[in-house]
């Protein structure tokens, strides 16, 4: 856990500076934690990651109370609880949002690189998405917090506002469900049909 300790030390220094209102503190916190927050937002199915990440950090920085004794663990779990709420809000508003496509040539996404790698990445992403969709909402929240956001058990419990024992039980069942699903051969049509029936994919928040 040397990597975690080093990151925690850096976050702690930036927190001390940010609580005093220094610009360097806010910038350091954003540089340290924004990559994880962006990955977590993508794992939650958010398309407009940049805006959501900006909203998350703006909410966190504007609510940074100087009377609270902050440390890296506390701030990280608090930040990802804000991220969970903001991504949920994004999905809630996405139902009312009308998607528009900018048809100008300069606005079209630049596609490039290796076509085969892009296809493999997309297949891998689809496969991971299917795996996560077979979990319940609580199990998926715990797995994404632990794996994508790289939070500890205690931090995940604090971020999701659940007891540690409940989080431990949820992650246990989530891994058993993944293992059982991975044991199913994709070529077996009967097992595949069962999995398809079983996979009542909940709507991602």
């Amino acid at each position: 856990m040397a990597r975690h300790d080093q990151l925690d030390d850096e976050i702690g220094r930036h927190l001390t500076s940010a609580v005093l209102g220094r610009q360097a503190g806010f910038t350091g916190l954003y540089r340290c934690l924004a990559p994880r927050v962006a990955g977590y937002a993508r794992s939650r199915g958010v398309d407009d990651v940049d805006d959501v990440v900006n909203e998350i950090f703006l909410a966190a920085f504007s609510s940074l109370d100087g009377s609270v004794s902050w440390d890296a663990t506390r701030f990280r779990s608090w930040l990802f609880s804000i991220a969970w709420n903001k991504t949920a809000d994004w999905h809630r508003h996405a139902g009312r949002r009308v998607d528009t496509v900018d048809a100008r040539p300069e606005a079209l996404p630049i596609t490039g690189g290796h076509v085969e790698d892009d296809a493999l990445d997309r297949l891998a992403g689809d496969r991971v998405g299917e795996l996560l969709d077979r979990l319940t909402d609580d199990q998926r929240d715990v797995i994404t917090m632990r794996v994508v956001a790289d939070l500890s058990l205690e931090e995940t419990a604090a971020a999701l506002d659940k007891p540690i024992g409940a989080v431990k039980s949820l992650q246990h069942r989530a891994l058993n469900a993944l293992r059982r699903d991975l044991d199913v051969e994709p070529d077996d049509p009967s097992e595949g049909a069962d999995l398809q029936d079983e996979a009542v994919s909940p709507v991602r928040r």
């Binding site: 924004a34 990955g39 993508r42 900006n54 703006l58 100087g66 891994l175």
Partner: protein, 293 residues
């Protein structure tokens, strides 16, 4: 699919194994290799990416050095904490001071009231005065002629009370016969008993009027005939109360009688009224009979 219950049958993963898998440890047992690969795929699908560009709102917030702004950062929290503490202390002190002032006011009021009632003697307060009786109204008070006498413990040793002369209705002469006080015999603070002079006792005591509110009228009638104070029907108050009505009804009686017997004779009426006052005890009989002589 339940979150907590239905999948507890195949428990091969211990807590330590789960923590190793979630931490992405490379060395896992072959039985958990599939799960480790799946988690690695999840981790690879959503890797940490470069920080997104800072939006204008966040840039505006971060670009401001909040140290230059007094209403931000920890100093705002410290100031709020200080103001809360000061406000709480001020409120507590104000409450205590208010309760103390209220308590002192009640205590002083109680002491003053007890001193006025004679229960206690507060040295700093002035001495209590004798109780004053407000007769009120337009009735002339002549009872000031009451003599204040001492109350001897043994009446045999006292040669006998000396009373002033009988009262006269004139206030000027009544003042001359004012009360005589035996100096030095009344203890300080004692209420002086009121003793009514004889001659007026008969009238006053009949109606039980200790304050003599109708004494002036009684005295007026006693001016001509002291014996008229005697209660004829045993109700002194009745006489006193009926007299003004009689006086007021006299002109009406006179009018009716003038029509009958003495019409147009004003002088005779005046004389007869004066005569009727002197013989007020016979007025009713005269009015009934109409015989003024």
């Amino acid at each position: 699919m339940s979150d907590y219950g239905s999948e507890m049958s195949d428990h091969d993963l211990t807590d330590a194994v789960v923590e190793r898998l979630l931490a992405g440890a490379p060395s896992v047992a072959p039985a958990e290799r599939d799960v480790a690969d799946a988690l690695a795929a999840v981790r690879a699908a959503y890797p940490p990416q470069d920080p997104p560009p800072v939006g204008p709102a966040l840039a505006d917030f971060v670009a401001v050095d909040l140290r230059a702004v007094p209403a931000g950062g920890s100093r705002r929290g410290a100031a709020d904490w200080y103001h809360r503490k000061v406000a709480a202390a001020t409120a507590f002190a104000g409450t205590v001071a208010g309760k103390f002032a209220l308590g002192m006011t009640v205590a002083f009021a109680a002491a003053g009231g007890a001193h006025a009632a004679g229960v206690i003697d507060v040295p700093l307060l002035p001495e209590r005065r004798a109780a004053l009786v407000d007769d009120g109204g337009d009735i002339q008070v002549t009872s000031t002629s009451a003599a204040v006498t001492t109350t001897p413990t043994n009446f045999d040793d006292v040669p006998g009370p000396t009373f002033p002369s009988p009262l006269v209705p004139n206030a000027d002469t009544a003042d001359e016969q004012a009360s005589t006080t035996t100096p030095g015999t009344r203890p300080p603070g004692a209420v002086a008993p009121l003793v009514t002079a004889p001659g007026t006792d008969e009238c006053d005591d009949e109606d039980g009027d200790a304050f003599g509110t109708d004494r002036g009228r009684d005295d007026a009638s006693a001016e001509h005939d002291p014996a008229s104070c005697e209660d004829e029907d045993g109700e002194g108050a009745d006489d006193d109360a009926s007299e003004p009505l009689d006086d007021a009804s006299e002109p009406m009686d006179d009018t009716s009688e003038d029509e009958d017997d003495h019409a147009g004779d004003d002088q005779d009426d005046t004389d007869e009224r004066e005569a009727g006052r002197r013989t007020s005890g016979d007025r009713n009989d005269d009015a009934d009979s109409g015989d003024w002589d």
